[in-house]
Amino acid sequence: MSRALSPSRLATYATCPRLYDYRYVQDVNAPDRTELYLNQGTIYHETIEDVCDATDRDDDPEVISDRAMRVFDAKWDEHSTPEDYESTAHREYQRVENRAAIESFFDPDGGDGIEHARRSLVTECWVECEVDGRELHGKADNVIRTDDGLHVFDYKRNTRGALSSGTAERLGEHLDGEAHEPKRVRNAFQTATYVEGVKNEPFYEDGMEVRFSFYGLLNSTSFESTPDGYEVSARGYPRETTEIYDEHRDTIWALIRDAHDGITNDAFEPEPFELITEEACPDCDYREMCADRLAPEVRR
């Protein structure tokens, strides 16, 4: 019996099987982490979604841009709460930075977002696929129609440390237990899910080219100090992983099978243990309670 899993869950398992156990199986409540970046993510995701949904193919760039700024302001008020921040100044700074990112994305003069909005087929699109009996599902932020087919975009704060052609080899190393690369593995899982998933959607036609990219809205930011205050600018750019998926398809699906089967079979022993201890434990929310981590310490 198969069960559909999201790239995010699979990646959690790839980070550490025990982490998956604590987070999803036992559902242990970790102390509140700051929600400010989570809320900021919601704000720019929903802004892009709303703008894309409201935009027609031939809308004027200025109109799209104005719309985007209006939506952003509303979304900011809706999702950003003062409690997330220890000072009003910090909140304002984050608002300005995110606003700058949206402004640059929907810049009427060449902003990538103008075309993303005009060509958007569907946003927040729930996709599903199955390969080798393993079901995956996920929500694609934006699917746009290109001249040759479809291009799926996943919007992120930035693409620092994301999967790239230079680092794709590490997927194989992770598979072999020689490296611990959960973030890039996660990117690979996302790529696989969306590339395969959109092919099952009604708007997919045979022969269409399918591409997938991450888009880091705040990939480049600058802070400028002036006598009257500070000025912030932000600029985004994409990172496409379609080719990496094509090239490393076998590895990626082997990784998916490992994680999927592990979850389905309740196999939560952390392996390879040393690598996980070194790489995953330091930032893990559950490190303080983890019997696997504590056991060798106690023994020592």
Binding site: V28, N29, Y85, H90, P227, M289
Partner: protein
């Protein structure tokens, strides 16, 4: 620690009557010259001398003790000074005002609150409160160049809150107010205009100085000069503009010097190295990307950088000053004064009309560690001095707090200026370190530039020593942290095993200190210590990585935030040992875990008794949480859960630090309950306390049973038989400048002082002094680990460096290759001939069997293998598949039992013999193998009263002290008792102990002459050693001596067949010339007051000696297997063994 005599606990004031001052000290003590300054080298007994001088004033000069004020830095030092004076002077010692520089301020401000214009109920702000205030005022910061992020990618450390906290600290320590900064910086626009100045200078250099020969560059220099002059003349003459103007003047001097040098070159009058024509453009920052080809990067002299970092600090300050002002307002509003503020307020008060009145409270002011005082403290001290009666000790070679605002010149030039009649006396005779160590210290410190006064340390009365004194360990080439740390582990193992020939003796872990330049140097070594099982204590560290501390902290976190299920899981797993299946049951479902824990029927669990225990504890603690103070809750937590029982010795040590933090949390009379804020403050602990942890105001407690690990800064004033200093390399000890250095100096010393000094050079000097402090901590053995990197192109660089060094005019404070401190090379030059290289010997391999071996089943196993074997056997036993054969083989630990299992050497005492009489098993456990006490299921209420033992101890110690101080009045006994109770936090026992004193004074004893008290003895009877203490020996009015043992208990002794008193009388034969036959008990407990004594004749004593010998002979065949059950089992610490009657439990109030 070497200076604690073993027989006294650390808190015990030891009179130093038997130590006579050395001639140098005597001169100082007897002198009546004031003001006097004593520049005293390390280990020369400066505090001793100061204390003696105070005594001398009181005893010989009839100065009233309350007219003397003694100031020092740490509470530890102030307490120890007070104790020494008390011990020597008796009650007069109490009247001397011994304070820290901060506590005297607190005292003065409390007394003169009205005059100071502050609320007399003010409190000192804790670090946690300061942090909370800073968070509250974040919105007052005028964010322009400061990013508003409260935390950055790496947490809070880089966020706005930390920035503000550091800024306030830097400014306030130097007495700089927000108004001062406002006035210095002027309007924002002006600061921003100045921010462009470095760029403009660089452009001037870039535009004009690109010539390719000395001649062409020389031709351009006048133009550069005139543009620089124009820039300078456009600047104002106040504050930041004056600083910038001064900087430009210095650059103009430089241009003139360059011009002169180039002209000389063109005239053939001087040579210059290749590429010298690039120097002007380089020095003025004209090259966009650092040093051009031909100019060595190590030169590190792009001078515009200094202006650039200054204006950048000014921009930051412009933003933060409003936050600083708001912080001050907020402190005021909350009626708090922070630590620095105490001195600020007091200095201001002393400047007011009432200052004179305050100063008149004291005739003499004594100051210790004067080199660590900052500018404000200097003013404070001078304002407290009347009639020049000032005595100052300190050591400019040990000034290591300059970077925190200490003003080293206070002890040299500033004192000279403030007190023209100042007389100087040296202290150079050292009582601590072996001479080779002092030779190195003397040699190495001469490399210090600008050293004002020269001292040469000489060891007095050096004991014989046959072993290496200074040892070097060359760092391995591979730069692997573990390898260099392993060297030190090996060194410590060898020191502790003592088998190596190079060592004079075997050292205990407590004799050894690892003193580090920075915390990072300690981390890998600590890991090695962990692996090797070497006990250690890190001073002032919260030990958050310690598993045991983590569990205790998790318990507090869970109680503070019950929704934190991670912490609950931790506690359930590690304290209650709840099994995985039961944890899953608890985590299952949507209800919060803590509710599930409390509500789920126990039969749902596999191990219900563990869940029940956890449930009871958690329920009780949660009920207590909101009403109890944090300390109280913590005490209940540890008592109820008996959590310490689950901790290793190392973890208990680690936990002590957390306890300190808890005790000190909240400064108000009523400590607040446990709150999430407290948990947060723990999480910020590291970033918050990093700096204040190394303030001169805190001195750590020292472990006597573990390797002490601390920064050199924290080790000041301490000494250890063995000192290890790791990672001595130019890189790891590289000096640096600090944020706001130039700004702070400009604000303190005048705007034109901002660029008068190279702060990196200043730090380099301080680094040498830090090293000096480090090595002079060592008594017998100093182990230095270091190495020097090869600098590839150093040869080629030299001509350029030298030429620049010659050309730079005196007004340019920055020298070539600044920041490169070749410490290891310098040390190697200074090492005495007797230095041993331990790299491939004591740092390379362990000598002898470190940790011993374990034999099992005919195999000889290394300790680690044996440990694994034990774990495997335990696992097998848990799984029920332990084979009978394996079970039969005992593990034979050679280092414990020796090859032929000789008995451990035993030392007997009356109590151990009494224990043996009662039950040989309990004797075996308590006195032979020092077994752990049983796990105690503690009572849920701890308030049942004070232990008899504590009362008895308090009374005994009071009597002893009273005897030593010749205190024969009840009031004096009360005072002593009260003080002792305070010191050991036994106030609860005080009333009962005072009742004992009352009863004592109803006896005849106070009328007798007291001959001896708490006299230790060692009796050799039949080849056995019998040790103990005699409470007191009195001389009765009829002249006969009588031995008295105080009994504060309710148990009556029968004198007829008593053995304790005869043992004492036997001991007295060796101790006193006069024969003593009388002995008795003085009952001061509730069954008293009465004295019962009698004479014991020689026959009785012989008989007791015979009995005792027989017992001790039979104890030689001690064994675990024999036991006697009975009444005494109820007091036995091991009565959970099957030998005890079932009905008994451990009584925590067990009396003896």
């Amino acid at each position: 620690m070497s200076d604690d005599p073993d027989e006294y606990p650390s808190w015990f004031p030891v009179p130093e009557a038997d130590i006579s001052p050395e001639p140098q000290q005597e001169t100082i003590i007897d002198s009546d010259a004031y003001p006097m300054r004593v520049l005293a080298g390390a280990g020369t007994g400066k505090t001793f001398t100061m204390v003696r001088k105070i005594e001398h004033l009181i005893d010989e000069e009839d100065i009233s003790p309350d007219r003397i004020l003694a100031l020092t830095f740490t509470n530890n030092a102030a307490n120890s000074m007070r104790e020494k004076l008390n011990a020597k002077l008796g009650t007069a010692g109490y009247d001397i005002d011994a304070y820290t520089y901060h506590s005297i301020c607190n005292e003065i401000l409390t007394d003169y609150a009205y005059e100071a214009g502050i609320d007399p109920d003010f409190e000192v702000a804790t670090d946690a409160e300061k942090y909370a205030i800073v968070i509250d005022v974040l919105d007052e910061i005028e964010y322009r160049s400061v990013k508003p992020n409260v935390y950055g990618g790496d947490g809070y450390a880089s966020g706005a809150a930390s920035k503000l906290l550091n800024f306030i600290g830097s400014m306030k320590r130097s007495g700089i107010t927000p108004d001062d900064i406002d006035a210095f910086l002027g309007p924002t626009d002006r600061v921003y205009e100045l921010a462009d100045l470095p760029d403009r200078i660089e452009n001037i250099a870039g535009d004009h100085l690109g010539g390719r020969s000395i001649g062409s560059v020389l031709d351009s220099l006048p133009a550069v000069r005139s543009e620089l002059v124009a820039e300078r003349d456009a600047l104002g003459t106040q504050g930041i503009e004056e600083s910038a103007r001064d900087f430009l003047t210095r650059l103009i001097d430089l241009v003139d010097a360059l011009e002169a040098a180039f002209e000389a070159h063109e005239a053939g009058a001087r040579g210059l190295p290749d590429n010298a024509h690039k120097l002007p453009k380089y020095l003025l920052g004209g090259y966009a990307s650092g040093a051009p080809t031909g100019i060595p990067g190590e030169l590190n002299l792009e001078l515009t950088d200094h202006l650039d970092s200054f204006v950048s600090d000014c921009l930051t300050a412009r933003d933060l000053t409003a936050g600083y002002a708001a912080y001050e307002r907020e402190l005021d509003e909350r009626n708090r004064i922070d630590f620095d503020g105490l001195v600020v307020e007091t200095a201001a008060l002393m400047d007011s009309p009432v200052g004179e009145e305050i100063a008149e409270r004291w005739d003499y002011v004594f100051c210790d560690e004067f080199q660590d005082t900052d500018r404000l403290q200097f003013d404070l001290v001078t304002s407290l001095v009347t009639d020049d009666n000032l005595f100052v000790v300190g050591d400019d070679d040990q000034a290591i707090y300059e970077w925190r605002g200490a003003h080293v010149a206070n002890i040299t030039d500033e004192l000279d200026q403030a007190f023209t009649a100042l007389s100087d006396e040296p202290l150079e005779e050292n009582f601590r370190s072996r001479q080779p160590i002092l030779n190195l210290a003397n040699e190495a410190i001469t490399k210090l530039d600008h050293r004002e006064r020269h001292k040469t340390l000489t060891r007095i009365d050096e004991p014989a020593y046959d072993g290496d004194t200074i040892a070097t360990v060359e760092l391995p080439d591979d730069e692997e942290e573990e390898n260099s740390a392993a060297q030190l582990r090996t060194v410590v193992q060898n020191l502790v095993s003592g088998a190596a020939e190079n060592l004079d003796e075997t050292y205990d872990p407590g004799d050894i200190a690892l003193l580090v330049r920075k915390n990072d140097h300690a981390t890998p070594v600590i890991e090695e210590f962990e692996d090797a099982g070497i006990p250690y204590q890190v001073a002032g560290d919260l030990a958050t990585e310690s598993v045991g501390v983590g569990t205790v902290t998790a318990y507090l976190k869970a109680l503070a935030r019950p929704a934190d299920e991670v912490s609950w899981n931790r506690v359930l797993l590690m304290r209650y040992r709840v099994c995985d299946a039961d944890l899953r049951t608890l985590n299952d479902g949507d209800d919060p875990l803590v509710n599930t824990l409390r509500d789920t029927p126990l039969d749902k669990f596999e191990e219900p008794e563990r869940i029940a225990e956890a449930r009871d504890h958690v329920t009780e603690l949660l009920d207590l949480r909101d009403s109890a103070s944090l300390s109280h809750l913590y005490r209940e937590l540890t008592a109820l859960t008996n959590i310490e029982w689950y901790l290793s010795e190392q973890e208990r040590r680690d936990l002590a630090q957390l306890e300190d933090v808890i005790e000190q949390y909240g400064d108000s009379a009523v400590q607040p309950p446990l709150t999430p804020e407290f948990i947060d403050s723990l999480e910020h602990y590291d970033s918050l306390f990093d700096e204040s942890g190394t303030a001169p105001t805190s001195q750590p407690d020292v472990a006597d049973d573990a390797v002490n690990v601390m920064t050199i800064h924290k080790s000041k004033g301490l000494d250890f038989p063995v000192v290890l200093i790791p990672q001595i390399t130019a890189d790891e000890w590289a000096p640096s400048s600090r944020t706001y250095d130039a700004l702070e100096t400009g604000l303190s010393d005048g705007a034109d002082a901002a660029f008068a000094e190279d702060f990196v050079e200043r730090d380099a000097r301080e680094t040498r002094r830090v090293f000096h402090v480090g090595i002079t901590r060592a008594e017998d053995v100093l182990v230095l680990q270091g190495g020097s990197e090869d600098r590839d192109d150093a040869e080629d660089d030299r001509p350029v460096s030298e030429a620049v060094g010659e050309i730079l005019p005196s007004r340019i404070p920055w020298q070539p290759e600044r920041g490169h401190l070749p410490l290891w090379t310098d040390i190697e030059e200074c090492l005495p001939d007797t230095t041993a290289d331990w790299t491939s010997t004591l740092a390379g391999e362990t000598i002898g069997n470190v940790g011993g071996t374990v034999t099992h089943d005919g195999e000889e196993l290394a300790v680690e293998t044996a440990r694994d074997r034990v774990v495997d056997l335990a696992t097998a036993s848990l799984n029920g598949d332990l084979s009978a054969r394996a079970e039969e083989k005992t593990l034979h630990v050679a280092s414990l039992t020796g090859p032929s299992t000789p008995p451990p050497s035993l030392s007997h005492s009356y109590t151990s013999l009494a224990a043996y009489e009662e039950c040989s098993r309990s004797h075996y456990l308590d006195y032979v193998v020092n077994a752990f006490s049983d796990y105690q299921e503690s009572a849920t209420t701890t308030g049942s009263g004070v232990s008899q033992r504590e009362i008895g101890l308090l009374f005994h110690d009071t009597a002893e002290q009273a005897a030593k101080q010749d205190a024969d009045r009840r009031a004096e006994w009360y005072d002593i008792c009260e003080r002792l109770a305070g010191q050991r936090r036994a106030e609860d026992a005080l009333p009962a102990a005072q009742e004992c004193i009352d009863r004592y004074f109803e006896l005849d004893l106070p009328e007798y002459e007291i001959v001896d008290a708490e006299r230790e003895f060692e009796l050799d009877i039949g080849g056995h050693e019998l040790v103990g203490y005699i409470d007191a020996v009195y001389r009765r009015p009829d002249g006969e001596l009588v031995v008295i043992d105080y009994k504060a208990t309710e148990r009556h002794r029968d004198l007829a067949d008593d053995t304790q008193l005869p043992i004492y009388l036997l001991a007295c034969r060796d101790l006193y010339d006069e024969p003593i036959a009388q002995a008795g008990y003085a009952y001061v407990g509730e069954i008293g007051p009465k004295v019962e004594s009698r004479a014991f004749d020689e026959d009785e004593l012989e008989a007791v000696e015979g009995d005792v010998t027989e017992s001790m002979n039979s104890i030689a065949e001690f064994s675990f297997s024999r036991y006697t059950a009975g009444e005494h089992c109820q007091w036995c610490q091991h009565n959970q063994l099957p030998c005890a009657p079932d009905s008994l439990t451990v009584d925590p109030e067990f009396e003896e």
